[in-house]
Symmetry: C2
Amino acid sequence: MTKISVIKEIMGANDQVAAQNRGRFDASGTFVINLMAAPGAGKTSLILATVPCLPSGIGPGVIEGDLASTIDAEKVAARGIPVVQINTGGNCHLDASMVQNALPHLPLDSIDVLFIENVGNLICPANFALGADLAVVVASVSEGHDKPYKYPAIFAAADAVVLNKADLQEVFDFDLDFFRRGVEMVNPAAPLFLVSCRTGAGIEEWAAWLMKQMGQVAPCPPSQTSRPR
Amino acid sequence: MTKISVIKEIMGANDQVAAQNRGRFDASGTFVINLMAAPGAGKTSLILATVPCLPSGIGPGVIEGDLASTIDAEKVAARGIPVVQINTGGNCHLDASMVQNALPHLPLDSIDVLFIENVGNLICPANFALGADLAVVVASVSEGHDKPYKYPAIFAAADAVVLNKADLQEVFDFDLDFFRRGVEMVNPAAPLFLVSCRTGAGIEEWAAWLMKQMGQVAPCPPSQTSRPR
């Protein structure tokens, strides 16, 4: 009983800070995406493939969440994108306070779309609001087609599901229908985007949907989607 | 402060139950492996590839840990291996009590080696002893070569690291030296086994090491390692 009450307190406090983050994002006109995925699904790759598809004048920013290391933040910074790395130590997910503490280190007023890359984990991040506009789950073909059945909560919490490494379905005997049925079972409303951050396939469609959620219409220029680097 | 004290109590209680599990395993002469990995790294595949390499007379058993579904347990049961599925609900790792509750459902006295497949998660399982003889981390090439740097605690806790999908290093531009240095940085003592559960490559060496830890010497018959099904 003690355990449960403490968890409730923590969750309540997190939601309060998430609401404060939400207010800060509204004030700066920043659209925020909470990207959640298993380790190695391709969250950073998706961010780097999506940024070239942003319409001119839409400034990107990134918060990187990892237990340790600055590997992902360095990749993002190398593209000239404003980025803050949060190292959570042992913490298995970002929480609203970690994000709040990162915000003063970003030029938020010039960031129109902020990607928050959560810690690689298909479980815990689903329980902690950050103040984002969208929650997006990135799955990958190499993880297998059974993930929505095994990790239903995070797929249920998603506004969209991006299936990365879609060019490798044959290599992994990936059953797309089985995967799709799993997503639909727990979350009939979430659109599913098949992409390959490696080849650029599918990025244009995903980015166009994302822009639509932001009230933008400009799609990814074809020359960039074919090779998003 | 309240939060910390509660966590300490939980951990202390878990260690006590893990010690009870340990006593039960010793009584039945069961060698136990706690298999930890990210979602889709290939824990079940490694179990199914390893079992044909067990010497005659060494009986296997499996405990499957998942948030939801019985997908993995069904695969194991289809091979005629005694198996219990634990569904943790929202819990992001197995704990000693869950394992303890599963034991009456297994014919432990005829199980010489018990594989406990933990929940797919590279973070939380590292903090909860189950009473096993060995902790083994299964990584996979498709997750990328940076995982030991990003998730150091679980690699540090491993008695061995198995790198699965090793046949796909070229497809994923996998830098094996970088991965190996990362493992060595946090855990210089842990042996690293490169395997492909799909082709059977490397399974013989891994299984021979495992048998050695059990005090057994019989390696995997070559006819079986080449095609572990």
